[in-house]
């Protein structure tokens, strides 16, 4: 009787242990170290007072909505053609101003109200592809791109970003000013201009 009880107890312990161990053993590979997380890129990011993605987004949004509601777009019978020129960085920080320009370009392209022509920064790559198609002899000439068929952009988008930095004790204040202008290349006339100001203030912690 006592032996039978011991057998049953042993079986219960063995079964529980098996279930417990199988519960712990997972076939899933470890994809996370536990200290990395995805964040909302549309949320305000203010880790430091240097320029960041939130500032780029605010600048691009202001420029895009301003241009879309400008008389230039309203009075154009055809979609205006634009080429992006340089946005000069006149701040003391390293800022990828091309990234701001591309954000504006993407948002305007999505609105389907303007057309973007190849800009200076993409000229080399675009020219290489044109030469490859027209001169390599690999492609049907009837369907290959040929030199001299391109449409020149009527407008040139250019501008500059400046900053004013002020310090008082532990407080640091930076004002960023992005100014963009759309120039009618033929007439040499500025047909649209807009600016976006961003103020960032930070305080150095005491400890």
């Amino acid at each position: 009787m006592n032996t039978k009880r011991t057998h049953i107890l042993g079986l219960v312990i063995a079964l529980t242990a098996t279930l417990g161990v199988s519960g712990c053993a997972s076939n899933k590979p470890a994809f996370s170290s536990g200290n990395v997380a995805y964040g909302d890129t549309k949320a305000e990011e203010n880790l430091t007072n240097e320029i960041g993605l939130t500032d780029f987004q605010m600048m691009a949004e202001k420029m895009t909505t301003s241009l879309l509601t400008s008389p230039l777009i309203a009075t154009s019978k055809q979609k205006p053609t634009i080429t992006i020129a340089e946005i000069k960085n006149k701040t003391s920080e390293h800022i990828d101003t091309r990234s701001i320009a591309l954000k504006i370009k993407t948002q305007l392209s999505k609105s389907q109200t303007v057309r973007f022509m190849t800009d200076k920064a993409d000229d080399a790559g675009s020219l290489t592809e044109l030469q490859r198609q027209s001169q390599s002899g690999l492609y049907k000439q009837s369907k290959a791109a040929k030199p001299g068929n391109r449409e020149a952009a009527k407008y040139r988008l250019h501008g500059e970003i400046t900053s004013i930095v002020k310090r008082a004790g532990d407080i640091k204040n930076i004002d960023y000013i992005l100014n963009l202008t759309l120039e009618d290349v033929d007439a040499g006339e500025d047909v649209w201009s807009e600016e976006k100001e961003i103020r960032k203030t930070s305080e150095r912690p005491t400890f």
Binding site: K42, A43, E44, T54, Q57, M58, E61, T64, T65, L68, T69, S70, P71, I73, A74, Q107, K110, S111, Q112, T113
Partner: protein, 133 residues
């Protein structure tokens, strides 16, 4: 009446109103009527001290523009975040995915905010307001 009975009576007397108050809860407010101004606003978090008084939509160059007056009804300085979401006539999201914008508000201040659709297909919108706390 002994001491124990007296204490029990006191406890029951004190707890009964509390229990009854728990049962008599306020009925939930009915949802705002579709297409009403209230239905266009989404409050995320506790924003009982914030109200939107004037909400109007018009078109500029075939792009819809929304103006809203956001009011801080409290006596404290506060800041909230907001953004607009644009929808086409089928209710699908169109245009750019806007980032959250901070709106600082002084006590009892009314501040006008503006949102512009970046797609001509945008005919409807939602204004999202979020507490910064």
């Amino acid at each position: 009446m002994n001491k124990n009975t007296f204490l029990k009576s006191c406890c029951i007397f004190a707890l009964t109103p509390i229990l009854l108050a728990g049962c008599v809860s306020q009925p939930p407010l009915p949802p705002p009527a579709p297409n009403s101004a209230a239905a266009k606003i989404m409050y995320l978090g506790d924003l009982s001290y914030i109200s939107v008084n004037d909400l109007r939509m018009g078109a500029t160059n075939n792009f819809n523009v929304v103006n809203a007056d956001v009011v801080n009804n409290s006596n404290d300085y506060t800041a909230i975040e907001y953004r607009f979401q644009w929808r086409d006539k089928g209710g699908m999201a169109v245009g750019i995915d806007e980032n959250w914008k901070t709106l600082p508000l002084s006590p009892m201040q009314t501040q006008r905010i503006q949102g512009t659709a970046t797609s001509k297909y945008a005919v409807d919108f939602k204004l999202e307001l979020k507490s910064k706390n």
